[in-house]
C-alpha cells in the first residue's frame, strides 16, 4: 500500500458542549494516501462536511473537535498532529499543505477584491520572500492551469461565471502545491456540463501535480467515476470503505446498496431505482446499536443492540472495511 499523507484517527466532532452536545462525527478513522482520490459520500447531515471542517480546524462555533488525531505526513520531516498545532504553525500549515475547495462556489471569493488580490495574498502570506513579479507570474500560470485567460486576474468575482469562479478557487487551492486538497461538494452548485468539465480538468491536474484529494459529495455516481477509494458515512460514522470499483459492483453495507440504487447507472444494464426508505437519523437521538437499523431492510437480532465496528469482512481482503453485522469484522481496520 502506498505512502500515507493524512491519517484521521478516532476523530469526534460535537456541536455544543456537555450533555446537550450533538455528536456529528463519531470516532472516524480514515486514511488518505499520497496522490489518491478518496471519496466521502453520504446523505445530508451524515457529517461529511463537519468532518472536513473538523480536520482543518475551521469549525464555526459551537462546533468543537472533542477527540482524536489528524496526523499529517509532510514529504520531508516528522508527522504532525494538525489538531495540536499552535495558531502560528496552523496558519503555516493551512493551504501550504492542505487546501480546500468549498461548497459555495458563488460565495468563496470576496466580492470587493479582484481575483488577483485574492490569489496573490495567499502566496504572499506563505512565501513572504517572494517578489511581486514572481507572484504575479505564478498567479497567471495558475489561471492558465485551470483554463482561464490570464487577463481575468483583473476581474472582480461578479464578472465571472459560476464555473469560472469555481475554477479560480481550484487554481487558488493549487497555488502553494499542497499535498492534500479537500473538496467539499465542489461542483454541487454548477450545472452538469460544467461539473464534467471541471472534474475532468481536476483529474488531469492531479495526474500532473500528484496531490491527494479528499472528495466530499452526496453524489455517489460522481465518486464511482472519479475516485480511487470511497468511504460511506452514515450518522457521523464511516460504515463502509472500499476501492471504488468494488464498492460499486459489490456493496456490503445495506446503506451503500441503498445509495447505489438511488441513482441510475451510467453504463450497463438498467436497474430499478429504489432509494432508501425513511429519513436520516436525528443526531440528537441516535438509534441504539447500528444507526441504520430502523431503515435497514436486512436488520436482524444484534442490529438494534450492539454497534458493529468497522473492520475487514474477510481475511483474504484487507482493502475494504465495513461496519455491519451481516459481515462481522474479522480483522481490525487496515491502517
Amino acid at each position: 500500500m502506498s505512502d500515507k499523507v493524512l491519517e484521521i484517527r478516532g476523530l469526534r466532532v460535537d456541536y455544543g458542549v456537555g450533555a446537550e452536545a450533538v455528536h456529528a462525527v463519531r470516532d472516524v478513522d480514515l486514511t488518505l494516501h499520497r496522490g489518491e482520490v478518496l471519496g466521502l459520500a453520504g446523505e445530508s447531515g451524515s457529517g461529511k462536511s463537519t468532518l472536513a471542517y473538523g480536520l482543518t480546524r475551521l469549525l464555526p462555533p459551537p462546533g468543537v473537535v472533542s477527540g482524536g488525531q489528524v496526523i499529517y505526513h509532510p514529504v520531508d520531516g516528522p508527522p504532525v498532529d494538525v489538531l495540536t498545532l499552535s495558531p502560528a504553525r496552523l496558519r503555516e500549515f493551512r493551504w501550504a499543505e492542505t487546501s480546500i475547495v468549498f461548497q459555495g462556489a458563488m460565495n468563496s471569493l470576496n466580492p470587493v477584491h479582484k481575483v488577483s488580490t485574492q490569489l496573490l495574498d495567499v502566496i504572499r502570506a506563505h512565501e513572504p520572500k517572494s517578489t511581486a513579479a514572481g507572484r504575479l507570474a505564478r498567479a497567471r500560470d495558475l489561471l492558465r492551469l485551470v483554463g482561464i485567460a490570464a487577463d481575468r486576474l483583473d476581474s472582480y468575482p461578479h464578472q465571472l461565471s459560476g464555473g469560472m469562479r469555481q475554477r479560480v478557487m481550484i487554481a487558488m487551492a493549487l497555488a502553494l502545491e499542497p499535498q492534500v486538497v479537500i473538496m467539499d461538494e465542489p461542483t454541487t452548485a454548477l450545472d452538469v456540463v460544467m461539473q464534467r468539465q471541471i472534474l475532468g480538468q481536476l483529474a488531469e491536474l492531479r495526474e500532473r501535480l500528484g496531490f491527494a484529494v479528499l472528495f466530499i459529495t452526496h453524489d455517489l455516481s460522481l465518486l464511482v467515476e472519479f475516485s480511487d477509494r470511497i468511504a460511506i458515512m452514515y450518522g457521523g460514522r464511516i460504515v463502509e470503505e472500499a476501492p471504488a470499483a468494488r464498492l460499486y459492483r459489490e456493496p456490503l453495507h445495506p446503506y451503500t446498496e441503498g445509495l447505489l440504487h438511488s441513482f441510475p447507472a451510467l453504463r450497463g444494464p438498467r436497474r430499478e431505482l429504489t432509494g432508501i426508505p425513511g429519513s436520516p437519523p436525528d443526531l440528537r437521538a441516535m438509534p441504539s446499536g447500528c444507526a441504520f437499523h430502523p431503515r435497514c431492510p436486512k436488520a436482524f437480532d444484534p442490529c438494534d443492540e450492539r454497534l458493529p465496528v468497522l473492520g475487514a469482512p474477510g481475511v483474504d481482503d484487507p482493502t475494504r472495511a465495513v461496519a455491519c453485522w451481516l459481515h462481522p469484522a474479522v480483522a481490525p481496520l487496515p491502517r
Binding site: L58, P60, E92, S99, F102, N107, L109, N110, D121
Partner: protein, 325 residues
C-alpha cells in the same frame, strides 16, 4: 462614468426643486416682517413708519411672483442671498459665512471623530464577540436613545456653572476678537468641549452598533472561512476581508450624516447658545427673517445633496459590484 453623470443630473434637478420650494414656501406663509414689527409694537407705529419699513425691507415693489422668482435666481447665481432682516443691513451671505465655520468646526469634527471611533470599536466588537466592548453596548445604546439637547441640558446642569472649567454657553469668551491667536483658540476649544462631548456620546453608539452587526453578518460569509483556510493572518482576515466588506453600509451612512452636519444639531446649538448655523436658523425663524431662513435652508439643501453625491461616489469606489463596465 455614465452612472455618475446620471446621478449628477438627478441631484441638479433635486437642487432646482428644493430651491424653488425654498422660494415659494416663505411667501405662502401669512405675515411678513413688517407685520411682525407692527404686532411687536402693538400698533403704535405710524403709517409713514410702516411705509418706510416696507421700503427698507424691499417689500414695496409690486412685482408678481414669477418676476420675483426670476429675480431670485438671478441674485442666487451672483451669490447674493439678500439682506438679513434681523441683522440689517448685513447681507445674508455674511451672516451665514460668520456662523458656518462654527457649525462645521463643532459638528463636522465630532461627526468624523464619532464615525471613526465608533466604526473602529464596532470592528473590534464584531470580530471578537463577547469581548469587553460588547459590555458597553447596552450603555451606548441607552445614551443614543436620549435626544442630543436633553443630554446637553444634563451636561450643563452637571458640569457647567459658576467657577466651572466648562462654560455653559457661547462659542468663545465674550470680549475676545475671533482670530487665530493664543487667546481666542484655547477659549473656542474650551467652549466646544461640552457640546462636542454631547454630540459624540449620543451619536457614536449608532456607528458601533451598525458596524458590529455588519461584522457579525460578514464573519459568517464563505469567503471569510476561505480566508482563514488560506492561512492568512488574523489581522488581514479581520481588516481586508471582514471589515472591508462590513464597512460599506457604514460609509454611505457616514456620507449622508455629513449632509446633516449643517442643520442636524440645531437643538444642541440652541441649548449651548453656540454661534453656529442652527442657532442662527432658530433666531431667523423667531423673527420671520425670510432671507436668512432661505439662505440657511439653501445651505442645508446643498450640503445634503452634496453628501448624497459623496455617498454614491464612495459606494462606487468601495463596491466594485456597483460599477458598470
Amino acid at each position: 462614468m455614465r452612472f455618475l453623470l446620471q446621478r449628477v443630473a438627478f441631484y441638479l434637478f433635486t437642487a432646482w426643486a428644493a430651491i424653488t420650494l425654498n422660494f415659494f414656501i416663505p411667501r405662502m406663509v401669512p405675515g411678513d416682517p413688517v407685520q411682525s414689527l407692527i404686532s411687536r409694537n402693538q400698533g403704535r407705529i405710524s403709517a409713514d413708519a410702516i411705509a418706510s419699513l416696507r421700503v427698507l425691507f424691499g417689500l414695496d415693489s409690486d412685482r408678481n411672483l414669477w418676476e420675483q422668482y426670476v429675480a431670485y435666481w438671478g441674485q442666487l447665481l451672483h451669490g447674493d442671498l439678500g439682506l438679513s432682516f434681523t441683522f440689517f443691513p448685513a447681507p445674508v451671505s455674511e451672516v451665514i459665512g460668520n456662523s458656518l465655520p462654527w457649525t462645521v468646526g463643532l459638528v463636522g469634527v465630532t461627526t468624523i471623530v464619532s464615525f471613526l471611533l465608533g466604526t473602529a470599536l464596532g470592528v473590534g466588537a464584531g470580530w471578537r464577540r463577547g469581548s469587553w466592548i460588547d459590555g458597553l453596548l447596552p450603555a451606548t445604546t441607552f445614551l443614543s436613545s436620549i435626544p442630543y439637547f436633553w443630554l446637553g441640558l444634563v451636561a450643563i446642569a452637571l458640569f457647567a456653572g459658576p467657577g466651572s472649567f466648562f462654560p455653559s454657553s457661547g462659542g468663545y469668551e465674550p470680549g475676545l476678537v475671533p482670530a487665530f491667536d493664543a487667546y481666542f483658540v484655547p477659549s473656542a476649544l474650551q467652549h466646544s468641549i461640552l457640546p462636542a462631548a454631547t454630540i459624540l456620546v449620543s451619536s457614536m453608539s449608532g456607528w458601533i452598533l451598525s458596524m458590529r452587526n455588519m461584522m457579525v453578518t460578514v464573519a459568517s460569509e464563505d469567503y471569510i472561512t476561505v480566508a482563514h483556510a488560506k492561512g492568512l493572518s488574523e489581522r488581514r482576515v479581520a481588516l481586508s476581508y471582514a471589515a472591508r466588506n462590513a464597512l460599506l453600509p457604514n460609509v454611505s451612512g457616514f456620507a449622508l450624516s455629513l449632509g446633516f452636519i449643517v442643520g442636524g444639531t440645531l437643538l444642541v446649538e440652541i441649548v449651548f447658545s453656540y454661534p453656529g448655523l442652527g442657532f442662527q436658523l432658530f433666531q431667523a425663524v423667531g423673527s420671520k427673517d425670510y432671507p436668512l431662513m432661505q439662505g440657511i435652508f439653501l445651505i442645508i439643501t446643498i450640503s445634503v445633496l452634496v453628501a448624497n453625491l459623496l455617498a454614491d461616489v464612495a459606494y462606487l469606489l468601495l463596491d466594485p459590484r456597483t460599477r458598470k463596465s
